[in-house]
Symmetry: C2
């Protein structure tokens, strides 16, 4: 049997069952980051591997943006646990004919984000490779109690930070009409969200410190897919109100006809998706100011383990046609073939 028949989630489960669990592991495989303790302290740790032509395409991204984003997606994983990133290891596989100027550009992108969040690059590995390979490992400081994917209960509210779908829409515009995109300020704003996502460190950290989030994940695969991870881990179902999904002005202007399609399934938003008890509604709302990002209530957790249901204004289910993205089974989406263990 080969890997593609096993499928992505079968693969992750198989790996999870095959690795030994030792002392000091408070959270292991299966969440946004691991939480470990040893003799000297406690850390959150996460890693991502990005491969040219699988996860990125140098036709559609500059090296500055690639450096920025490689770090950003890992910081986002730390944010989703409520932690604060501190250190990063960056390993590169580099083609022998790669331009040094391009490498400098890549590191400028890494540093731009690292500086913003006080993250230091502490090491890594450089290699010759046939194509560009980027492996990032980030170590962060956990809150007193990191927020997991499990922990949501029926009746909990569902929230998301920022706006959804901009990243996927921006990428589509770029691919369809790079010239037109350059002329449109709105389209450029969307694309920036694809290339330089904002890890929601402050929001995640506040939610954890104030014990408000019962479950949390960052939106990398798409809202429905990532919410279904929370549902699975928490053994609940979820109802999402389609009309409440937060869409940016640029999204509304450019893709009004396509409705919430990109917001529901687009992925790579790197916003935080979390659940909270209804009695904490006012406290969650109040958080927006300090977190520097909007927080929108988009649904509710239900008892039935029927996964995610998206409903319209009348409460009627909308067929989303989003069966969830499986990297190994399907090869049709070049930008999202990765999955954190």
């Amino acid at each position: 049997m080969n890997i593609s028949r096993l499928g992505e989630f079968g693969l992750i489960e198989r790996i999870r069952r095959r690795v030994r669990v030792g002392r000091g592991v408070k959270i292991g495989i299966g969440d946004d980051a691991a939480w470990v303790t040893n003799a000297t302290g406690s850390s959150l740790v996460t890693a991502d591997l990005l491969i040219e032509r699988i996860h990125f395409d140098l036709r559609w991204t500059s090296l500055f943006q690639l450096g920025y984003k490689s770090l950003a997606v890992n910081l986002s994983d730390i944010a989703a646990m409520g932690g604060t990133p501190a250190f990063a290891l960056l390993s590169l596989g580099i083609p022998r004919d790669f331009e040094v100027a391009g490498l400098d550009e890549f590191y400028r992108g890494v540093n731009a984000l690292a500086r913003e969040f006080g993250v230091t690059i502490i090491g890594g590995d450089t290699n010759v490779a046939g194509s560009l390979i980027i492996s990032v490992c980030v170590i962060g400081t956990p809150p007193r109690r990191p927020v997991r994917r499990r922990g949501a209960r029926p009746g909990d509210d569902i929230y998301v930070t920022g706006t959804l779908g901009d990243s996927a829409l921006g990428l589509r515009l770029l691919k369809e009409n790079p010239e037109g995109l350059r002329r449109s300020r709105l389209a450029r704003a969307l694309l920036k969200r694809h290339h330089q996502p904002d890890p929601r460190i402050e929001a995640g950290s506040l939610l954890a410190r104030r014990n408000l989030a019962t479950a949390m994940i960052d939106v990398s695969d798409g809202l429905v897919q990532d919410l279904s991870h929370i549902c699975h881990a928490s053994r609940i179902g979820a109802v999402v109100w389609n009309e409440r999904l937060p869409l940016s002005r640029a999204y509304r202007r450019i893709a009004a006809r396509e409705g919430t399609r990109y917001a529901l399934g687009g992925g790579e938003d790197y916003e935080l998706l979390f659940c909270a008890r209804p009695h904490n509604r006012a406290r969650v709302e109040k958080l927006q100011q300090r977190a520097g990002v909007a927080i929108t209530r988009i649904g509710t957790c239900v008892a039935a383990a029927g996964g995610v249901t998206v409903v319209d204004g009348m409460g009627l289910p909308i067929p989303t046609l989003l069966k969830g993205h499986d990297h190994f089974k399907r090869a049709d989406r070049a930008e999202r073939n990765s999955s954190a263990l």
Copy 2:
């Protein structure tokens, strides 16, 4: 200018200058592992990226061995700082048609070593890739004072654990005559050292705890090359006594005619190479028993910054023709194209 003109060490230096150094970094880029502290404690961290056909070739290694070795080379980096490994993140890029049985085999190899040293796999990332890519990050517990590459002084003794050259010799035998190798117990013993190197955790840890090593590194690129890293970092030179190099019985039997060639330049021994003050000679020697590995004094540190000189029994320099391996400038050695930052 492209990367290959810059060369490996130029590249590492360029990266080192381009990343910001922040708080909490006690040792950053340029040693075997980084040493960091944050609000919750102190850790050693190291990472390696292994790429099919660059660092390994599935014609010459089983997946069990590959899993074992992928972890072993990282544990060895922790050993070289005097630390104890605790956790590992393992990210894989896997071809879509990869056999599940092969993946299980890989994890059996990882687990065999992890169990031996009490290391837990806490996460990582799985991806689709064109060829097999393995990215490992290991987090360890530092000793009170981690041992760096700098710190050796003229007059210090130079030691190495175990025996040298077995790994490179074993690999050569395998490539030249796989059938013959299978029939020779000695040759198989050499090859096992290539496929399943022993990270010298106990030796490294004892040397650090007892404050005996003034500088330390693990032998991955070859004795002369790695000793020159110590020389460079410590701003000293080194004299190595060719006749004192520790060779295994198998090495002597099989490659007697080729002298110490593999021991000096072969690489991938993953033994510890360290310096110590002469007045600690008895204490270093005594360590062997507890560390479970032979420790051999092979040379002495000198003031001249002339790099590494290998001398014969008469004290006359031997031309080693080992100019140091540069992964980006030369493409002739498929197994060692990596370098830790």
